[in-house]
């Protein structure tokens, strides 16, 4: 089975975000980055499917500047076989249609049996790239997938619905699935894996120019910190311990918890 996994690099979750001068995006300069959370689970699922079904190939594909190489190398160290890096410096304002178009051009000749993406990016949060990509590749898709059974000719996938409900879908293969976090426990890269990764292929490709330059259908005009709507009583004024003592008192006298 040949499986392509799309992996995006995003700002570190713990990073303190600052808004750039033109107020159109965050200040990227001093940020640290990590792999998008659900994409890490998508990779894990691809590796498990390969192991379970007697081999094949796991190909990682990422669109972004040179720094995304760290995501790619980490994926190779965990067991992906090779990678495609679509190199582009400015992808922050790329809408999901344009991103999916660029990615589809980069992987369409691979003829994969499965394409896995994360269900949502932690920065833009469009929740669309995978589904649009499926449409562009002519593949059936399922989103928010939490279990995959590829033992038959087609696929059976378990989808998460709202508030604790689930649903199984039977579908044809090839297909595209968007993977939900928690589908399985993510493995660590071993030293052996890290060494082996050094010999694996990372193919750099330029993004399809037409796809990249297609006019964005949505444009960010301004970014800002959300306006607070609730009057929060902040306690301790930066002193966590003092805040904790005040909180105990408030819980007793104001909230009457005990």
């Amino acid at each position: 089975m040949k499986i392509i996994v799309l992996m995006k690099q995003v700002a570190n979750k713990d990073a303190i975000l600052r808004i750039n001068k033109s107020e159109t995006w965050i200040e990227e300069g001093d940020l640290s980055h990590e792999v998008n959370e659900s994409d890490g689970y998508a990779l894990e699922e691809a590796l498990r499917l390969k192991e379970k079904h007697g081999g094949g190939e796991v190909v990682v594909c990422s669109l972004g500047p040179q720094r995304v190489k760290s995501v790619i190398k980490d994926a190779l160290a965990r067991g992906a076989d090779r990678a495609i890096h679509v190199v582009s410096d400015d992808t922050a304002q790329l809408g999901p249609y344009a991103a999916a178009k660029v990615l589809s051009e980069a992987i369409k000749d691979e003829q994969a049996d499965l394409v896995l993406t994360g269900l949502q990016s932690d920065d833009n949060g469009y929740a669309q790239t995978g589904v649009i990509l499926a449409e562009l590749l002519g593949l059936p898709h399922a989103t928010i997938v939490i279990e995959v059974d590829a033992s038959g000719e087609g696929l059976r996938v378990k989808r998460e619905l709202e508030s604790g409900w689930y649903q199984w879908y039977a579908m044809t293969r090839p297909a595209l699935l968007t993977i939900q976090s928690g589908i399985s426990q993510i493995r660590y890269a071993t030293l052996k894996g890290i060494m082996a990764a050094k010999k694996k292929e990372i193919k750099e490709v330029a993004p399809n120019a037409e796809a990249l330059s297609a006019a964005a259908h949505q444009r960010i005009t301004k970014v800002y910190f959300p306006q607070k709507t609730k009057q929060t009583q902040f306690l301790g004024d930066g002193d966590a311990k003092a805040g904790a003592a005040q909180l105990a008192e408030k819980l007793r006298t104001e909230a009457r918890i005990f």
């Binding site: 249609y97 469009y126 669309q128 589904v131 409900w165 259908h217 301004k222 301790g236 904790a244 909230a255």
Partner: protein, 326 residues
């Protein structure tokens, strides 16, 4: 010339989703500011369903019908909606940002060579131009977004962005029009939805919930929060990543894919406050948030906030409560 606003009303097995009526409210407000008529579209097998939506103040309700629309599938819905949108030629297509809409609407938009302005929390109109606002970076930042290019503009609204009870009802029922459509090949077959076997803990009955997030750093630190929970006679709960990592069982997860709770007291320790978490706990009577990031979105719904390290806060809080309880 494209005209009007088309709002997609979602149902499963004939029961309409409340967020559909939030979307109706959003579409009506947009319609009022732009001076444009608002119609609703319902997908299914017959017009009986659509008449449930006709009580709202709408220009009309379009019932898009085909036997393949009896159960939701992304292939079936994308085909049917594509035809409806082409036939009705609206300027805006407004949808609730539900799991079902996330599943098929990007495919629908792609048929028009577009994407969705997804998960919006507001829309405002000035000089006839619409600005949509959406949360990015997991709720930490807001972005104002404008649509470019030809209509239709596809936009989805976050659950809770508008209130369903603000959707205006009409004096008399809106006209219901049937629109039979072609639906192509459907490549997936849904089975019956189900819930996992009965949850071991029912957090909906707890008066006090101590919830931990990724800020707790390691499974070994959960005991700290557990002590506080025990002292207050409460239950321990968590954000999704804690359950994903297997540190707590999934039946302790709070949020859109976990439990929805309304305790008297909810203490969020090291939880950032992504919308998928907030929908599960924002109606608690008293909400306390402890987070080292002053901009964490969880503070937006907290009654009491401490900006600081939870590892400093928990031991002191536990001690002080012990003292006060005497």
């Amino acid at each position: 010339m494209p005209n009007g606003i088309l709002v997609f009303a979602e149902h499963r097995g004939g029961a309409f989703n409340k967020t559909s009526f939030e979307a109706v409210a959003a579409a009506q407000q947009l319609g009022a500011s732009l001076g444009q008529p608002v119609s609703a579209v319902v997908l299914g097998t017959d017009a009986a369903l659509a008449s449930q939506v006709a009580a709202y103040k709408l220009d009309k309700v379009v019932s898009v019908e085909h036997p393949k629309l009896a159960d939701y599938t992304p292939d079936g819905y994308a085909d049917a909606m594509e035809r409806a949108v082409r036939a009705l030629d609206p300027q805006f297509v407004i949808m609730p940002h539900t799991y079902l809409v996330r599943d098929y609407a990007p495919k629908l938009a792609a048929r028009f060579g577009k994407d969705l302005i997804s998960d919006c929390v507001r829309a405002s109109v000035s000089d006839g131009a619409v600005t949509f606002s959406r949360r990015i970076f997991q709720g930490k930042i807001d972005a104002d977004v404008v649509a470019n290019g030809e209509p239709p503009v596809f936009a989805t609204f976050q659950s809770g962005a508008y209130r369903a009870d603000q959707a205006e009802r009409g004096g008399e029922a809106a006209a219901v029009e049937s629109l039979p459509v072609e639906v192509g090949e459907v490549r997936m077959q849904p089975e019956e939805p189900f819930q996992e076997v009965k949850q071991a803990v029912d957090l909906t009955k707890a008066d006090t919930i101590i919830a931990i997030g990724r800020g707790i750093k390691g499974q070994e630190h959960i005991a700290l929060a557990q002590q506080l929970a025990d002292l207050l006679g409460g239950e321990i709960a968590a954000s999704r990543p804690i359950c994903d990592a297997g540190w707590l069982p999934i039946d302790r997860q709070i949020g859109s894919s976990g439990q929805t709770v309304t305790p008297k007291l909810y203490i969020a320790l090291g939880i950032s406050g992504a919308i998928q978490h907030l929908v599960g706990m924002k109606n608690a009577s008293t909400i306390v948030a402890v987070n080292k990031d002053p901009e964490a979105p969880i503070f937006d719904i907290a009654d009491y906030g401490i900006v600081g390290d939870l590892f400093e806060v928990i031991p002191v809080l536990t001690e002080e409560i012990k003292k006060l309880k005497g």
